[in-house]
């Protein structure tokens, strides 16, 4: 059965979910060319041309009339990403239409704050309960929502890892560079990495830090002041917002992320796919992709001494870094966006099919547990 799907997304900005889902749309076209995938975005953004080229129909609107018109079209299933989209459209959608609804619950703002700070926002729990099916990014995230197993699909965090997987391992010519791919925002705690670098350079004097990501000018100025104060200004560089993250990772030995608030960071999966060991804070559900001591190291938020020690160890022990890098490549392969897209498409098809035989019954969606994922 071919399906007609309306995907609803908050914006087409260059965010993690938006980028990943854009890659999934491309995969859908390859997997099932006769399906129809329309997209309703509340706001445009830098990914607009990519979405326009991939979706059968792209509508960018946030006014009530256009949204209502989109929802009234003949779809087999509506797939909603982002809690803000679900919050806006679910009353209208569920009260006026019987189209099955699949809610993609990932690490949007509500998901992130839920796992990092215990934010208990009832509306989000209600929305997962009232949809026909829910996909969760990780089992850890699913665990907090009272949705029956039969309506739940646990996908994996997806990343487009192809170009990263093609990178060779670091060699003797690779600089002693630690790369961090993150926006310049206080939440990312990049200052911790700069302070740790000063300690690292006591044992590995050639160590340098490359911060890859755009952000607030004031935060960059603050980080530059901290680097100068820690006497590592000449060893810290800023790449700014760049489309060549692959090139930045290629010139690194370690990828680090000292953030205080995350879901499952795409940047870490990309680094793992490139065979780089990772050092990250133990926040959000980072531990769903990294086992401490296997693909890299996990440290507590703000534990700069430990952070520095783990980075130093990896720089001084290329054999250990190589083993962890290899483990990371194996782990990241399971998160290839093409694999995850196939599972999501399966969920959408099941939800669409269910309306034809038994609307009220629990959908027989194949639950992908952490165990079966690993298998």
């Amino acid at each position: 059965m071919n399906v007609r799907v309306l995907h609803v997304i908050e914006s087409l900005a260059a965010g993690g979910i938006e980028t990943t889902f854009g890659n999934m749309l491309e995969t859908f076209r390859t997997l099932a060319p006769d399906d129809r995938h329309d997209v309703l975005a509340f706001d445009g953004g830098i990914l607009q041309s990519k979405y326009a080229a991939t979706a059968h129909q792209l509508t960018i609107a946030c006014d009530s009339a256009t949204i209502a018109e989109c929802l009234a079209r003949d779809y087999d299933v509506v797939h909603i990403l982002f809690e803000r989209c679900a919050y806006r459209i679910l009353p209208m959608l569920l009260a006026r239409h019987s189209t099955p609804v699949v809610y993609g619950k990932g690490y949007d703002m509500g998901g992130m704050y839920r796992v990092n700070e215990g934010l208990d926002w009832t509306a989000d729990v209600t929305m997962t309960a009232a949809c026909d099916a829910v996909t969760f990014t990780t089992p850890n995230l699913a665990a907090g929502f009272p949705v029956p197993l039969g309506r739940t699909t646990v996908l994996r965090k997806a990343a487009d890892i192809r170009t990263f997987a093609a990178l060779p391992d670091p060699d003797v010519l690779t600089p002693q560079r630690i790369v961090c791919v993150a926006n310049l925002h206080p939440r990312k705690r990049l200052a911790d990495l700069i302070v740790a670098l000063a300690s690292v350079r006591c044992s590995a004097p050639d160590a340098e830090l490359r911060l890859v990501g755009g952000g607030d000018r004031a935060e960059r100025a603050r980080l530059e002041r901290i680097a100068a104060h820690a006497a590592v200004a000449d060893a810290v560089s800023f790449a700014g917002q760049t489309s060549d993250v692959v090139g930045e990772i290629a010139q690194s030995r370690i990828v680090a992320l000292p953030s205080s608030c995350e879901g499952v960071p795409t940047a870490l999966l990309e680094a793992m796919a490139a065979g780089r060991p990772v050092v990250s804070t133990r926040v959000g559900h980072v531990d769903s992709i990294i086992e401490d001591g296997v693909e890299g190291f996990l440290v507590g938020v703000g534990e700069m001494t430990t952070l520095a020690a783990r980075i130093t160890r990896l720089l001084l022990r290329p054999d250990l870094a190589g083993r962890m890098g290899a483990a990371g490549r194996r782990r990241a392969d399971r998160h290839d966006v093409r694999r995850v897209a196939a599972d999501l498409l399966g969920t959408l098809r099941h939800a669409a099919a269910a309306q034809h035989y038994n609307v009220g019954a629990d959908l027989q969606v194949r639950p992908i547990t952490a165990t079966s994922d690993a298998a």
């Binding site: 946030c62 679910l90 934010l119 009832t122 309960a129 009232a130 609307v359």
Partner: protein
């Protein structure tokens, strides 16, 4: 002045323009249809300004309620963080003592980077998620409220973590806030309601003159409506931003007063104690007990249907019962404002015929009942815990 119905519409207490008209005998109501159209087109007829789903009102640290008073000659400048702020910040520094600056928390931060401060900061968020996001910035160490000398008006829904560092002498809960949930418009309305006749914008760009940001269309329309409905002198001092009907382009010198302004006047009185607020919450839940029980029955039926045991007649009956609550405005207001629920109030605003729904009727029943019951349980837990 701003028509009374501005605040009335933003309070989400009316379902139709006729209902609003019946409640407001003011002749000004004649002009309300334009505002109502805006409310319908861009706010889905639900601004959420009275929803407090996290029950922050019970732990709000303010001890005073206040309202500002402005002289007609005082020019009010509403400062946002758009690019025009940086372009004109030197001019702002030059005229600073001759304009009254109102802004947001991010605006305070942006001004501080240029060595400037505001007279009044409003803490207002459209949704609970937005409020939590702002509170998170404090955890990240970016707490602009620590160093400001401005008066801080923080609505009841503000997370206490966000304003914990604010000097209590400068903190108050704004009384009768004229709001539709979008802070620049709220500040403009607040200034006009407090007596201002000259209002300006800086850094409230909302896109560019050539390409207004569609995300800000509701705010652009709302600012335009405020300017036209209030007959104030409205000046957009930020060159390059999106055009707003009714706001003439001008300079900060065009807005500024000829002489320095005196200190901002704010009348304050004691706020209700936290014990009193808890008592009100408890009374609210008690008054709704029959409806909460009805919602629980609806929730059970919906959950059974979701599991495959569909009783369409019962589902339609539950939905009809909850939708019928819309005919009682006091009940509607009590449900919205006591429990902070969003879904049932928004179902009241849709033309939904339960009889037209098939087996999928479990979904709207579950959406409305689950949130209502969960919020009632949570509020009961919070009130009981704090009482203990």
């Amino acid at each position: 002045m701003l028509p009374d119905y501005f605040r009335a519409i933003g309070s989400d207490r009316f379902l139709t323009l006729d209902e609003l008209g019946a409640d407001n005998a003011s002749p000004n109501i004649v002009g309300a249809s334009e505002a109502w159209d805006l409310y319908h087109e861009h706010f889905d007829r639900f601004c959420e300004t009275t929803l407090d789903p996290q029950f922050h009102r019970l732990s709000h640290p303010a001890t005073q309620i206040g309202s500002i008073h402005l002289d007609r000659s005082e020019p009010i400048l509403i400062v946002g963080t758009g690019p025009s702020l940086d372009r004109h910040v030197a001019d702002l520094a030059r005229v600073r003592s001759r304009v009254r600056v109102f802004t947001s928390a991010r605006g305070i931060d942006a001004l501080a980077r240029h060595g400037l401060d505001a007279d009044l900061m409003l803490v207002e968020h459209r949704t609970a998620l937005d409020a939590h996001h702002s509170g998170r910035a404090v955890l990240d160490g970016a707490d602009p409220l620590k160093s400001t000398r401005a008066l801080v008006a923080a609505e009841w829904r503000t997370p206490s973590a966000l304003i914990a560092a604010v000097d209590r002498q400068r903190l108050f809960v704004p009384e009768q806030l004229p709001t539709w949930g979008l802070w620049p418009a709220t500040l403009a309305a607040m200034a006009i309601a407090s007596g201002a006749t000259r209002v300006g914008l800086l850094g409230v760009d909302l896109g560019t003159a050539a390409r207004p940001n569609p995300t800000f269309a509701p705010l652009i329309r709302l600012l335009s409506w405020i300017a036209s409905a209030s007959s104030v002198t409205a000046i957009d001092c930020g060159t390059g931003g999106a055009g707003k009907v009714g706001w003439v382009r001008g300079t900060l010198d065009d807005l500024a007063a000829a002489t320095e302004l005196r200190m901002l006047i704010c009348d304050r009185r004691d706020a209700p104690s936290s014990d009193y607020r808890r008592a009100i919450a408890f009374a609210g839940i008690s008054g709704l007990s029959g409806h909460i029980d009805a919602a629980k029955r609806g929730l059970e039926t919906a959950l059974r249907a979701r599991a495959g045991h569909v009783d369409v007649v019962a589902l339609r009956s539950h939905l009809s019962e909850m939708l019928a609550w819309r005919t009682d405005r006091n009940l509607r207001t009590a449900i919205q404002e006591t429990l902070g629920v969003s879904f049932l109030p928004r179902l009241w605003r849709l033309t939904t015929d339960p009889a037209s729904l098939d087996e999928s009727a479990w979904r709207p029943v579950l959406l409305a009942a689950h949130e209502l019951v969960t919020q009632a349980d949570r509020l009961t837990g919070v009130v009981m815990k704090e009482a203990a």
